[in-house]
């Protein structure tokens, strides 16, 4: 009885807040048939936008994953002053609205910014892909750390200690004991991070310069389609982003822990 009640509550919530909107995206995409969808997705500018999005994601996700695991281990397993502060700092990026993230990056790397001189030396941060990577890394920073930390706390480090008494090196202990034990945390963290990188719009809109065919990401393409009343195109691109996110989840859950997974 209780199980059915819980299931009911969860499903009503999910349907109202998540599944109905997703179904609507699906429906709106194919509302007018396949032709407009294909036209929107095969547009060279759209294809390039997907490449930019994927490039940025492929750089940002591993960076934040490594950070998340290292930071998580440091916070849970090590002693040092200011742990609470560090912990809070990791979540802080989320509290900034994307417009503020863009403003901050302008203040740092814009022409009159703290590091404005970089562009004089040929290092273009803003209005080029490094700026987009910075923005996306910023907004997706916390997720792997936040997944890993509670799991590490729950597990305790008994097994690691046992391994070390048996003579395993730090790296071996990490690879064969710690990593597999936080596998699901890392999986969900990576999936969240990837999804966030794929879907980021606000900060990227500001720092990328929105240069069609160069720094325009898929989300900026969605905005462009929306501006020009091409809602089918907007939904179609969003659907592809959603499919990529789901594919990442499936891929990560399929790499089975026969051996260790990275």
């Amino acid at each position: 009885m209780r199980r059915h009640l819980l299931r009911f509550v969860a499903l009503v919530y999910l349907v109202a807040i998540l599944l109905a909107p997703l179904a609507m995206v699906f429906w709106r995409t194919f509302e007018h048939g396949l032709a407009p969808v294909w036209a929107a997705l095969s547009d060279p500018e759209t294809l390039h936008a997907f490449r930019v999005t994927l490039l940025v994601t492929v750089i940002a996700v591993p960076l934040n994953t490594v950070f998340g695991i290292v930071a998580g281990l440091a916070i849970v397993r090590r002693r040092f002053p200011g742990k609470g502060l560090l912990n809070a700092f990791i979540d802080l990026p989320l509290a900034l609205s994307p417009v503020v993230v863009g403003l901050a990056l302008f203040l740092l790397y814009g022409r009159n910014g703290w590091f404005g001189g970089l562009s004089n030396h040929g290092i273009q941060v803003l209005f080029a892909w490094p700026g987009v990577v910075l923005a996306v890394v910023f907004v997706s920073l916390p997720f792997v750390a936040r997944e890993v930390i509670p799991t590490l706390r729950e597990l305790g480090d008994e097994q690691e200690q046992a391994a070390q008494t048996l003579g395993a090196s730090a790296w071996q202990t990490f690879r064969r004991i710690t990593l597999p034990s936080i596998r699901w945390a890392v999986v969900y963290g990576v999936v969240l991070t990837t999804a966030r990188c794929l879907g980021e719009y606000g900060a990227v809109a500001i720092v990328s310069g929105r240069i069609v065919g160069q720094t325009e990401t898929a989300t900026l393409r969605v905005d462009d389609s929306y501006q020009n009343f091409d809602l089918t195109g907007a939904y179609a691109i969003s659907l592809v982003l959603a499919v990529i996110a789901v594919a990442v989840l499936i891929a990560m859950t399929l790499t089975k822990p026969k051996e260790q997974s990275v």
Binding site: L18, V25, L86, A95, V222
Partner: protein, 281 residues
Amino acid sequence: MLPDSSVAAAWRPGARSDTGGRTGTALSLGVVSTYLTVVVVLPIAALVWESQRNGAHTFWQVVSSPEAVAALRLTLAVAVAVSLLNAVLGTVTAWVLVRDEFPGKALVNSVIDLPFALPTIVAGLTLIALYGPQSPVGVNVAFTRTAIGLALCFVTLPFVVRTVQPVLQELDREMEEAARSLGAGEVTVFRRIVLPNIFPGILSGVALAFARAVGEIGAVVLISGNLPYRTEVSSVFVMNRIESGDSAGAAAVAVVLLGISFALLLAIGGLRFLVTRHERA
């Protein structure tokens, strides 16, 4: 559930030195702080600097202006409400996804993260289509405060679910089964055995949800109507400031929001510390 003496040892001051040794600590801390500095601390420092560029008086003037205060109150109220809602419903969802079996469960599990992957424009558009003037289910709450809550629920949905799920998955069932065999009811088992273990996970998710709710603009700006003093949230107020050329004022309000979020995150972290400590005592 593993005995937690080793975790306790890591917490207690004066205990045996941390796992991995001092160089390991220095190295990981070095990597972590460098990364955090470049990615997070520098931008925030630039914001703080910008916010006080015109002096403390101007800072206060913007932050205490009636429109800013109204936006701040609305933002915090909705963020807290949505975070609490997530704490409960997210936990229920995680529970159902880990412990229950029903047709389509794998599908549901794989789409939980989609609120992140969808560009916020599309999130806003679909919510308006579903729950706005042309709603197919007759629910029209668009351009009201309820719509803000709706949009925020959408973008924060994955948080608590995904922070609790891995903990639940790793949870050793032995204690629960032992308790049940001793005659404890389901509620007691949950309250005394499961909940204390997933509580840190819930707190992590709530912290994330709150932070995101405070900072969200993309989905909210489409569906709330942004009427100043009524349905305008702080992120929109800040954006208007930037657009009007007052980036110092915008930075001021952003810094205040940041300060409040930071304080709350510290508090949640402290709470989590207390909870795990209490559990071991």
